[in-house]
């Protein structure tokens, strides 16, 4: 019976039909999706923190408004994604607990600090750029609610990426100090952004299954290569050097070759030893714990109101 259901399920995926919440699905598919979607939602929420850092220091009113709107969009993405995740039978509070306890992960990139205004541009250009590369194929993911959430997310992300690039472009045309600020920031963000695609295919055991289920459409290394090819050209426009002496055009492959990623750093940050892991989780936990009485008050008031209404009707 199980085998039969599995076959029907896979055949549906092979026909490019969407799997919906009420459809039968293998436990492993459900688990993989909960892990991936919640990780994605958590990344949006934790990702608000490094950028939120600069809202109060944005250099102009226009930039301040744009950055607030961007960070607010990320809260919105978190909401759609938590909702998509809830369709798989897990609630938002449980997902938060998993984030706070360290059981659930989020994108390691947000464990790096934002040290200058240029970092807000670099996050838009490189981090959102890498995220888009990862996320556009997810609009065709086999799980309906996730795919639909991603359509909306991707539209806003590409706007964010342009906004980040524009911040950097502006710096590239500015004073020597601004140009130096730009280069210094790109130096710090380039490698962490490259790591956003995850381990090399050889070290990514889940990739094959996720590809078969059409949750994933391209491998980590394919996406990373695409990212390098695009960024190299964009870096020329910004007049910045990517901090990798080994980047060069490979005629035969039709792609840019690039240097070795420091995987030790990658795993250290994943394990919690990045520059800001502790602060990020502490900030999330503080907001959640300090908000407990507010959430309780809202529920208590709603109950009182409902009780009064019932009494009136009676």
């Amino acid at each position: 019976m199980e085998k039969n259901l599995n076959d029907i399920f896979q055949a549906k995926i092979d026909r490019e039909e969407k799997i919906e919440p009420k459809d039968w699905m293998p436990d492993a598919y459900r688990k993989t999706l909960i892990r991936q979607i919640s990780q994605h939602a958590h990344s949006e929420i934790v990702g608000m923190l490094p950028e939120g850092n600069w809202i109060t220091r944005a250099p102009t009113l226009r930039r301040k408004v744009a950055l607030m709107a961007k960070v607010q969009d990320e809260a919105g993405h978190g909401l759609y994604l938590y909702s998509a995740c809830e369709t798989l039978g897990i609630d938002r509070d449980t997902l938060f607990e998993q984030l706070h306890s360290g059981k659930a992960k989020y994108s390691s990139i947000f464990n790096y600090p934002t040290l200058s205004w240029a970092d807000i541009g670099s996050i838009g250009w490189l981090v959102d750029g890498a995220a888009i590369m990862n996320q556009v194929p997810l609009c065709r993911c086999s799980y309906g609610p996730y795919a639909r959430a991603m359509v909306r997310v991707c539209k806003e992300e590409s706007f964010h990426q342009r906004q980040g690039f524009e911040i950097l472009l502006n710096l590239s045309k500015g004073s020597d100090e601004q140009k130096a600020m730009l280069q210094e920031s790109v130096n710090r963000w380039w490698w962490p952004a490259m790591m956003m695609f995850g381990p090399s295919d050889a070290d990514s055991p889940n990739t094959q299954q996720s590809m078969q289920w059409k949750i994933k459409r391209f491998t980590n290394d394919e996406l990373r290569q695409k990212f390098v090819d695009i960024c190299y050209e964009q870096a020329k426009i910004l007049n910045v050097t990517l901090p990798d002496p080994d980047i060069k055009w490979n005629e035969e492959r039709g792609h840019y070759d690039f240097g070795e990623i420091n995987w030790d750093e990658f795993w250290q940050v994943v394990k919690g030893n990045g520059p800001c892991n502790k602060e990020r989780i502490a900030a999330r936990k503080t907001a959640w714990e300090e908000g407990a009485w507010v959430r309780e008050a809202a529920v208590a008031h709603a109950n009182k109101r409902a009780a009064r209404k019932t009494k009136k009707v009676a």
């Binding site: 301040k64 809260a75 502006n170 004073s175 900030a283 503080t286 907001a287 309780e296 008050a297």
Partner: protein, 250 residues
């Protein structure tokens, strides 16, 4: 240059900017995702209003002034916001109550600015009033929820009332520039605002099971550039890049 009009614009813009900035400090730290977004939304509206107001002020000022030169290159003594809006966020109860006191005032003030004899101000009010109506709805609902919620939320909002009530009178203590604008129909019927504000607060407090305090000693000074200690720190943070790298484009 008509000084009272310029001062009045600066006062209006500073109120919106400083409160918007305070709320923006909370982005990504809200008690629940939906309210994080709501507070950022209000902050966005307020800074947006600031931009519209300062653009008019900059035109009046001339000499290459811009919305940003007005926001980022003045020291605290040139800021004309009321003391209420520069008060620290505190807990969610204090944030909500500060917002409610301001929104209730602002709503009735902007109803009047819709009829301003100054076309620019009337146009700004036209756009802002829709936003302010929503802000007032949000903050009033939260005052009710917290007042008539749990014992803890009730005691927190009462503590916030103790802290913030002494800053409310300043809104109705009109300065020379406001009175001059009143005389020219730029800010019509300002003397009617207080009664409407009192009514608004009385009604919402009643629903929230809260008591309107007796009037005691009231602080003022912000509108004349005499601020609390908080504003200097806020400006130091907000103006950092413009001060560290003067005259750059961003």
């Amino acid at each position: 240059m008509a000084n009272h009009l310029h001062d009045f614009l600066i006062h209006l813009g500073d109120n919106a900017l400083i409160l918007g900035h305070r709320l923006s400090e909370l982005t990504s730290h809200g008690p629940v995702l939906e309210q994080d977004m709501a507070m950022t939304n209000i902050a966005l509206d307020l800074v947006g209003q600031t931009r519209n107001i300062f653009q008019v002020a900059a035109k009046l000022q001339g000499n290459g002034a811009t919305e940003d030169s007005i926001a980022y290159t003045r020291d605290a003594t040139s800021y004309k916001n009321i003391l209420l809006v520069e008060q620290k966020n505190g807990d969610f109860a204090k944030t909500v109550l500060r917002q409610f006191f301001y929104d209730a005032f602002n709503y009735h003030a902007y109803q009047r600015l819709l009829k301003s004899s100054n076309k620019d101000i009337a146009a700004i009010a036209e756009k802002a009033i829709k936003e302010i109506t929503y802000h007032l709805k949000w903050s009033a609902e939260w005052v009710i929820r917290l007042g008539d919620g749990t014992e803890e939320s009730n005691s927190r909002i009462n503590a916030a009332i103790d802290d913030l009530w002494p800053y409310t009178e300043e809104m109705f203590k009109f300065t020379d520039y406001e009175l001059a604008c009143h005389d020219e129909g730029i800010f019509p019927d300002i003397h009617g605002i207080k009664a409407e504000w009192d009514e608004e607060v009385k009604n919402i407090f009643a629903e929230a099971t809260l008591t309107v305090p007796e009037d005691g000693w009231m602080h003022d000074g912000g509108k004349r550039g005499v601020h609390s200690e908080h504003l200097g720190f806020l400006l130091a943070e907000m103006q950092f890049l413009q001060r560290a790298y003067p005259g750059q484009q961003w």
